[in-house]
Symmetry: C2
Amino acid sequence: MAQKYAVGIDIGGTTTKFGTVDNNGHILEQDRIPSNEHEVVEDFIDDLHSKLMPMIERAGGVKNFVGIGMGAPNGNLYTGTIEYAPNLKWKGIIPIASLMQKKFGLDTKLTNDANAAAMGEMMYGACKNMKHFITITLGTGVGSGIVIDGKIVVGHDGFAGELGHTIIRPGGRMHKSTGMRGSLEAYASATGVRETAIEMLTMHPEEPSLLRNYTINELTSETVYECAMQGDNIANDIFEFTGQILGESLANFIMFSSPAAIVLFGGLTKAGNLLLNPTRKHMEENLLPIFKNKVELIFSQLKESDAAILGASALVWEME
Amino acid sequence: MAQKYAVGIDIGGTTTKFGTVDNNGHILEQDRIPSNEHEVVEDFIDDLHSKLMPMIERAGGVKNFVGIGMGAPNGNLYTGTIEYAPNLKWKGIIPIASLMQKKFGLDTKLTNDANAAAMGEMMYGACKNMKHFITITLGTGVGSGIVIDGKIVVGHDGFAGELGHTIIRPGGRMHKSTGMRGSLEAYASATGVRETAIEMLTMHPEEPSLLRNYTINELTSETVYECAMQGDNIANDIFEFTGQILGESLANFIMFSSPAAIVLFGGLTKAGNLLLNPTRKHMEENLLPIFKNKVELIFSQLKESDAAILGASALVWEME
């Protein structure tokens, strides 16, 4: 096989990471540019090109590459377009895959960032040889990638797999950017943990807590974690509650697609068993007997700093 | 093509329906036997055989048949076994597909009854030429069949698609047979509508309602429908509430697999727009903008008396 390498590009709300990757999942080189400093997408692509082409040349040139894989918010696998991404500067429908293809002369495949993460798990991570699994990214928000029969589920329009926006507490907490009430993301994200902390501290004003030593700006999922590790009751309750909501949601997802594993990824997973134990407990409690004690609940094995680039590059190996 | 016919068999909790079907979805002949009057499955198969073989002979014999398709509770597509079906007499794991295959000399495929219904919609019903849809059967319980990329979703173990047991009201109404709280089936089934009626009549003892003229045994989804059609407020509220719960659940399912259509089937759909309007309203309200006004919400076009046999037979055409 002449083509030994792929390009992986992850367009995040703030930063775009990119790199050259071999087919064993090793990143040869990587770099980053800001996502939102270019008024038009063509300038963004020019900037990417000037940084990426030297990397491609150092790996022997375009002829050694099978293609470019990209992850981006609202990235559509069918059309190769980014459609109305709320966090990006370029509005409307952006045909980024075809623009990249022209600029680089390489086949380009696009999907959303959460689906790219799932591809990375299947190609290089915890789900090698698995055909049915779900990845849940617990970061600032909650992303998800669903794999059934070895393929990413994108649905009839390319946008399937928005599990962070499923409603688990009807009429519950308002999600500030979607306006929806009670979605998983309103609770089981870094933002959600912070909101739970503020709620619990306000609702139990008499109960002492190490968390009361922090200003409201310092209250983050990290400070909650640190206090929980020191035995703070409210901090522990916050993770218990977060795990309950997440576990109930995972049970619903399991009864939908019956995956062999659910892989958790992202900043919140640093809480380890503080999060994993209540999540597993409430997941199992809400499953029909036929699904109980069958589904592996695990943390991603991919290095967070590499995962986005690896996941995007994994889209391209599938093209072969 | 020599093989023009298929056998379709639907094993329900009470009755087993079966028939011979051509590849246009016409049932040549059909009959039924009780599901639970045979202590061992071999006797049940003997009984089926004695009724079915004359039908097969009248269609030119086994050589004209492509195979046997079966729908059964907890039917596993991968293994051809019925596994721990709570409503059937035969306990444990029943290798019914291989037993049928030996007895009839015909390839036999098995799945659960709700998946068979989805196959029927794709082969003969509202979802011809659709590759992404979900069927929801609103009967005594709530069944579901999920189709992605033209294939039934069965998951890693064969049991995916239990959407009736997903939790939509955490901590809510107890489901009598599963013991779980707040599942879709506890509300959006004939049983659920009856429970909602009893709850609403008890909670508002002063409010007049035609439903108060019925004994508690006469309170069924049918009587609620009749009273609603006569303008009864409580009866209308019951369907509004049922549609709200169903609509919220459908929104969650759409954000999972992004289907082109959701097909509703079963006894409750006789309520027509009384159920469909609130369901659609609450479904749309709970979708991310990217999914709004995209998903068809429709009733099945299949005759209820034929659908189970047609759906089961549709499994077999797929074998070709």
